[in-house]
Amino acid sequence: MGLLSKKDQKLILDPLADDNPITIQVLGICSALAITAQLKASIVMSISVLFVLGVGNVVISLMRNIIPSKIRIIVQLIVVATLVIIVDQVLKAYAYELSKELSVFVGLIITNCIIMGRFEAFALGNGPWRSFLDGIGNALGYGVILIIVGFFRELLGSGTLLGFKVLGDPIEKTGLYAIGYENNGFMLLSPMALIVVGLIIWVQRSRNKALIEEH
């Protein structure tokens, strides 16, 4: 990371761990619950958010001095919605298969509170380059949690990873299933995503006591 100054590095690295949007700021939980039943969906969603948050932060940052403060939330919403529609249309025209995979998630990106949160908290007060780094950092921090949750939910819930049967075949009873292992169907339901996120929060805070809020 020799290219970036210490301060800029912090923008990328902080959201990955000690200022993670999901586990510390508790933003973007809705999509973390909704789409993490499969690892592939988690990865695709992470990449989409990476794009929208990176570009969106730059656009908002460039406009930060001319946006009327009374309608700034609406302006932010329009920027997100426009970006999402552009992504959706371009994918439909040039990568149709991928756009079908993404169908549900594209709409979900707009409702992701991390995006509006970063526009409001960072891009409105910082230059485009720093805003870009902040957007990338937060999207990566979001993606890391999504992928961890997706990994465990797909592995324990369906016995597969990215669709590959890594634990053997549950119907033919091969691999782990031969010795009596069963998939935990409960992992596929949204409440278990909340519990997995909870476990991550627990592990993270017990390793770094400074993160524990005092009440």
Binding site: Q38, P68, V75, I86, G185
Partner: protein, 245 residues
């Protein structure tokens, strides 16, 4: 008070923003429309052919493989021998069947509704490919079911707009669609359809005369939607297919 706080400025900004964003999106949509329309046409051809077994699925492997888009147009012409429209109890041969929008038709009353039917032929066998459109848990589901002369399902393809990934979305997985192949839609002489059933104790679907396929865990409402869609659609087609053989 900064200059950006005034009412006049706010209204001006909003107006310019709306015009700019509207312009960008409208020109983008116009520019990409032909490419999107073509993709949608290829997809429909792929789906119809998939249902009648013209696909590149590998035996024993679990993924859905369509005829590639660069060949689908030619393959479609080769395998689909007739397109029909059924309306108000009458059936007419009509090339326009392909262009029928199932979503729009589903909103019309029964007497106004146009129902497309595609006839295909592969290795000397005749297939009746029936498009269908219904409701899942969150949004629309649709599909194509191919029947033979004996009204036995020879293949099925399902898709959805927004079912839950990992649950209802699995109706487009092969292990669900393959279960329909060989299944009867008649029970004796009576129409029964096919029910997506929980707890029928037949997870690999060995029994083909029970009018039931095994349901997806955690996707009850999507499964019920598939059952309802199959029942209501096929029922309307059966008399016509029986007359045609």
């Amino acid at each position: 008070m900064a200059k950006t706080d005034g009412n006049g400025y706010t209204v001006l900004f909003a107006t310019i923003m709306v015009v700019v964003v509207g312009g960008i999106l409208a020109s983008l949509a116009q520019g990409l429309k032909p490419a999107i329309k073509e993709n949608e046409r290829f997809e429909k051809q792929q789906n119809i052919l998939y249902a009648m077994g013209v696909n590149e699925n590998v035996e024993g492997e679990g993924s859905v493989n369509f005829i590639p888009t660069d060949r689908v147009e030619a393959e479609y012409k080769k395998y689909i021998t007739g397109s029909y429209i059924i309306q108000n109890g009458k059936i007419t041969e009509d090339e326009g069947a392909f262009a029928i929008d199932m979503k729009k038709q589903s909103k019309l009353s029964k007497s106004e509704r146009k129902m497309p039917l595609f006839i295909g032929e592969r290795d000397g066998q005749k297939f009746y490919v029936i498009p269908m459109y219904g409701k899942g848990l969150w949004d629309a589901i649709w599909g194509y079911v191919a029947l033979d002369d004996n009204l036995i399902v020879q293949g099925a393809f399902f898709d959805h707009k927004g079912e839950t990934p990992g649950l209802g979305a699995n109706i487009k997985e092969r292990y669900f669609m393959d279960d329909f192949t060989g299944e009867k839609i008649m029970n004796g002489n009576k129409f029964a359809g096919i029910t997506v059933a929980k707890g029928n104790n037949d997870p690999v679907n060995n029994t083909k005369d029970d009018n039931e396929v095994d349901a997806l865990a955690g996707a009850t409402i999507t499964g019920d939607g598939v059952s309802a869609m199959i029942k209501s659609t096929l029922k309307a087609y059966i008399p016509h297919i029986q007359n045609m053989k």
